[in-house]
């Protein structure tokens, strides 16, 4: 068995939404990209009810440089929400410095001090004609904003994880989410740089 673990570089992610949105698949893509693509360790535990669709659903992903003992998450570093009820269930557990990703058309966030990154993932998925690919758009967005998994690992894992024949469409969805995230970050950097410039 392993040595005592010192504090190691570990990131804890909760993705939450309704059953049927592909929440668990999104979690699996993150975990698999980290474990097989980026050669880290990761665990994914899923929670769902007996309903096949519409019930509350969450995926908990731990990504670490070392063996992961405890696979459940008490205080996520990153919370990605695709339903209001999921947001309400987990927002109080988010670490004070943790970041929040939301589908902006599905969630109205309350007053939180955490940085919020919003994307109209479901609307964008509808625009490309596949509402069910909102989860993949969110995975792309997550990849760009959090940098917890590399672009190559994430994109390759998306291609591996989706049904045959839909790879191109899903890659497009992933790229849309990723580009949206990059643009959002760039906008923020510009804003921050502008402010700094003004002070100087």
């Amino acid at each position: 068995m392993p040595d005592i673990q010192a504090t190691v570089n570990t990131t804890e992610v909760i993705i939450t939404g309704f059953g049927g949105q592909g929440i668990v698949l999104a979690g699996k893509i993150l975990g698999e990209a980290a474990a097989l693509g980026d050669k880290k360790e990761s665990t994914l535990v899923q929670s769902y009810g007996p309903e096949s669709r519409g019930g509350a659903c969450s995926a908990q992903v731990v990504i670490s440089d070392r063996t992961i003992h405890y696979p459940y998450i008490r205080q996520p570093d990153i919370l990605a929400c695709m339903s209001q009820s999921g947001y309400e269930k987990y927002i109080d557990q988010l670490k004070p410095e943790g970041i929040l990703l939301i589908d902006q058309d599905l969630i109205t966030p309350g007053k939180v001090k955490n940085p919020i990154y919003a994307i109209p993932a479901t609307r964008m998925a509808e625009e490309i004609g596949r509402k069910m690919m909102a989860n993949i758009i969110m995975v792309g967005f997550f990849t760009a904003i959090t940098r917890q998994i590399t672009l190559d690992a994430a994109r390759d894992t998306v291609v591996k994880s989706v049904p045959k024949g839909t790879e191109e469409m899903n890659t497009k969805a992933f790229t849309k989410g990723y580009d949206y995230g990059l643009a959002l970050l760039k906008g923020q950097e510009k804003k921050a740089a502008g402010k700094t410039g003004a002070i100087a």
């Binding site: 698999e32 474990a35 360790e41 990761s42 994914l44 535990v45 007996p50 405890y70 459940y72």
Partner: protein, 381 residues
Amino acid sequence: MKPSVLTGEHYMTGDEACAEGALAAGCKFFGGYPITPATEIAERMAARLPGVGGTFIQMEDEIAAIASILGASWAGVKSMTATSGPGFSLMMENIGLGIVTETPCVIANVQRGGPSTGLPTMGAQADMMQARWGSHGHYEIIALAPASVQEAFYQTITAFNLSEKYRVPVLIMADEIVGHMSEKVRIPEAKEIELISRLTPSGRKDRHKPYAAGPNGVAPMGAAGQGYHMHITGLTHDEKGYPAMSVDAHAEMMDRLMNKIRNNLDDIIITEEYLLDDADIAIVSYGVSARTSLAAVDEARRMGIKAGLLKLVTVWPFPEEKIRQLAEKVKGFVTVEINLGQIHLEVQRCAGGKAPAYLVGHPGGTIISPDRVIAMLQEAF
């Protein structure tokens, strides 16, 4: 034909890894009935078995499912089924038939919250005593408990090996959390996997005695259709397999059934230790709760509490001698399990009053938090 051994790195669930372990062990028959959270084992076997020359049958219920794997084993192939609490209850009678007919087979129970229908999608470890004593009569059984997806792969191979070697049903007492959790799994090359298959008979087929055991208490096993004379019954039987309704015959058969396990405990019992050598407190755990316990040991050590872990890979037969030895040197035991005190009672029994035994239990539905273990360590010691 497709490969039985999927050599390489994979990201899969414990259920899927259990199925891949079975295939790597040479399992060629799965008879099952779907039930959350074990269905994914059946799904994977249904998808994979035809490609490796095996057979998958969805039976009408769990009673038929276990009956089918006993039959398949007597047809000469390695066989398994997978279920959860309610299905495990239905299988109890035929687990006894498997024990008394000495039929190698593997039964995975991916435990969920009970009693009854309970919590279908949520984990527990509350069938541990049922695994030990759920079928009627007195017997020995082997049960393993995987704590990770990688262990689900390897322990399933171990389960088949022990089952073939000792001609006894072997139980994989997994839990929903490990069953549904995804992790990295490294599957080695086929040639690196040690496989054991049942001894097969030789000599005159018309004089074959299916229950004439060798020195280790295990008889070679022929397959139906090979021409060996055989009679297989749930009744107490003699070396020929014929019913023998006498006190002496029963004692002889029972002795052998018990001793083939009891005389080989060193081979069957697998435990792992973590920081136990200098520990004041021995945490005893298995399955997913062993992960809670590992996290708790690390946390305790950071706080200056000398805790260590005895992780049970083999839960049945219980490592009685190990607990007795530990009881001589530790200040006490803490058992961590998702039930309200099952293996805890075994620890307490074997500690024999020499060291107190405490329980960190849970009625089921979720993993136990390491915080609760720490709280117990602080409170009790």
